[in-house]
């Protein structure tokens, strides 16, 4: 038994991570090159490095790159956000779209679009506030009534319904606010304003990086609050901080991609099956596979029905739903997550 504890942790998970990284890269390249106008690799290189003024270069710089960046950022953010929420609430059903985090962000975005249509850059901040308010509401309710795993979800579902009703009311009363579109309600990238994307992408980058440094803390929380405390973790403060990061990630995403659901639920489960539940490797795996999945789905949503375009949220649910059910059935009585 002359192996270190960390290398003793069963099979090496790095190949899976590398594979997810490659998938992510491939998805990004395809997403930039394919579409109504095909961009050849040579044109892509020219557009990126020579600053050419050809139509192809324009498409790459002003259409494809922002869109691909939006897909990558949204996928990574929602998947990591879902993994964090599932760990902190110790509940496999929890995810930003189920417990009302996305809905809270959506309502704030809706209100801002209706009443402060000029606020552009501040939108991701407002979305974060909405997401955070929803998180705190769910956490507060769960603690007040004794946080069993089921009550957290029930409270979340109720908060979710309430907030979505609020958004529906705004959509109905202010049809010109621009959030009634399918792109916003189910999530899509067909019209991502650059002014909203870059501040949100910066927030996402910081949030994801910060979450990677807190992987051990997340592991400890999964051991149970008392054990975590015994090992030296400030449990309440860490839960608050981690859910705050999850809210930043989900809120920033909603501000430019709309209420993209499901990624936050299925990607963490998928990643957990591939690399196990150690958060040190699970969070990067979630970020990479979430980014790859959303980018590929967006590509498919653009290409399959060209010249029409399906909001990617619809496609994600169409593919993700049956896929998730298949996972459950194959698991047969086992648990996806403890």
């Amino acid at each position: 038994m002359k192996c270190s504890v960390t290398s003793c942790m069963g099979t090496d998970k790095r190949p899976a991570l590398a594979l997810a990284g490659l998938a992510c890269l491939a998805a990004a390249l395809l997403s930039v090159c394919l579409g109504a106008a095909k961009i050849s690799p040579a044109e892509l290189l020219a557009a990126l490095f020579n600053g050419g003024q050809t139509p192809a270069a324009g498409i790459v710089r002003y259409v494809r790159l922002p869109r691909t960046a939006a897909c990558l950022a949204a996928g990574a953010a929602l998947a990591v956000s879902g993994a964090i929420i599932q760990s902190v609430l110790a509940n496999p059903l929890a995810s930003p779209n189920i417990i009302g985090v996305n809905a809270g962000a959506g309502l704030m975005v809706g209100l801002c679009c209706a009443f402060l249509p000029t606020m552009g850059r501040g939108l991701s901040g407002a979305a974060f506030l909405g997401a955070m308010a929803a998180v705190l509401l769910v956490l507060g309710i769960a603690r007040r009534i004794g946080a069993s795993r089921m009550t957290v979800i029930l409270a979340g579902v109720a908060v979710n319904a309430f907030l979505n009703a609020g958004t529906d009311a705004v959509v109905t009363l202010f049809p010109d606010a621009g959030i009634g579109s399918a792109d916003f309600r189910v999530g899509g990238f067909s019209a991502v304003p650059a002014g909203r994307l870059w501040p949100a992408a910066l927030l996402i980058l910081m949030g994801v990086a910060l979450s990677f440094t807190l992987a051990n803390e997340l592991d400890l929380l999964a051991l149970g609050e008392d054990t975590a405390h015994g090992l030296g973790l400030s449990v309440r403060r860490m839960q608050f901080l981690l859910l705050g990061i999850a809210a930043v990630l989900a809120g920033a995403t909603v501000s430019f991609a709309g209420q993209l659901g499901f990624v936050g639920l299925i990607v963490p489960h998928l990643a957990r099956r591939l690399v196990g539940s150690g958060n040190g490797i699970l969070l990067p795996m979630c970020a990479l596979s979430g980014a790859a999945l959303v980018t590929l789905c967006d590509l498919a949503a653009r290409l399959l029905f060209a010249p029409y375009e399906l909001p990617v949220g619809i496609l994600l649910s169409l593919i993700g739903g049956p896929f998730f059910l298949m996972l459950l059935v194959r698991q047969r009585g086992g648990r996806l997550h403890d």
Binding site: M1, S4, V5, T6, C8, M9, G10, A90, T213, L214, N216, E217, D219, L220, A222, L223, G224, D226, T227, H229, G230, L231, G232, L233, S234, V235, G276, S277, G278, H337, D338
Partner: protein, 254 residues
Amino acid sequence: MIELRELCAGYGGREILHRISLTFVPGQVYGIIGPNGCGKSTLLRSITGLHPLSSGTVLLDGADLCSLTPIQTAQRVAYLPQSRNVPAISAGRLALHGRFAHLSYPRRYRREDDEITRRALEWTGAADFASRNMQELSGGQRQRVYLAMALAQDTRTILMDEPTTYLDIGSRFEVMNLARGLAGMGKAVVLVLHDLELVLRYADRVVVMDGGRVKAEGPPDEVYPCLRDCFGVEVCRISSPEGVFYSFSPRHDG
């Protein structure tokens, strides 16, 4: 070393622990026993700062608990709580998290943490299944992993809340032997237990609690008579060439 002075604690307005004064000295195994709801678990939770004190003082290696952060507390006391959901994590990784309190942000476990954890796993006899998932292990094996985690935490005191519950008789003896071994390293080991026979056989000193108060504290052969009233059972001490045994039977009133 832990000193409790006039410790009181409760839930809401109801006081559970009444003026508890105890000292846990290094190198000794302490067994805390008492009927259900007597405040044993609350006592351990109060010592680790999980449950707020309403009055009194807890000194951990001479430092006041109130002035310590959770990290500083965890450097002085390891605590293994009672009901644990079985986490989906490898045994080695779980034990490695015992080193958490010795790192500062951003916490990356170092080579020496690996080394300390490996030695702890070997000492508790858990090295052979360090790569397996906790959910695949038996109750006795899991308890060895948790003990390795507590050992890796490198504290002078270890608190355990019912470490032998749900274990078969052989595993119970093994856990108690490991507890004795930890005391042999110069640690104070404090166990909350329901199994009276196990406590009287293995503990150096026994703390008998009832209704949130300490009824008796001392070596097993001094405190055993008071178990009669505490638990409502007859206690018989049998001295034989093989050692001292205690036998419990229902109380015959009248």
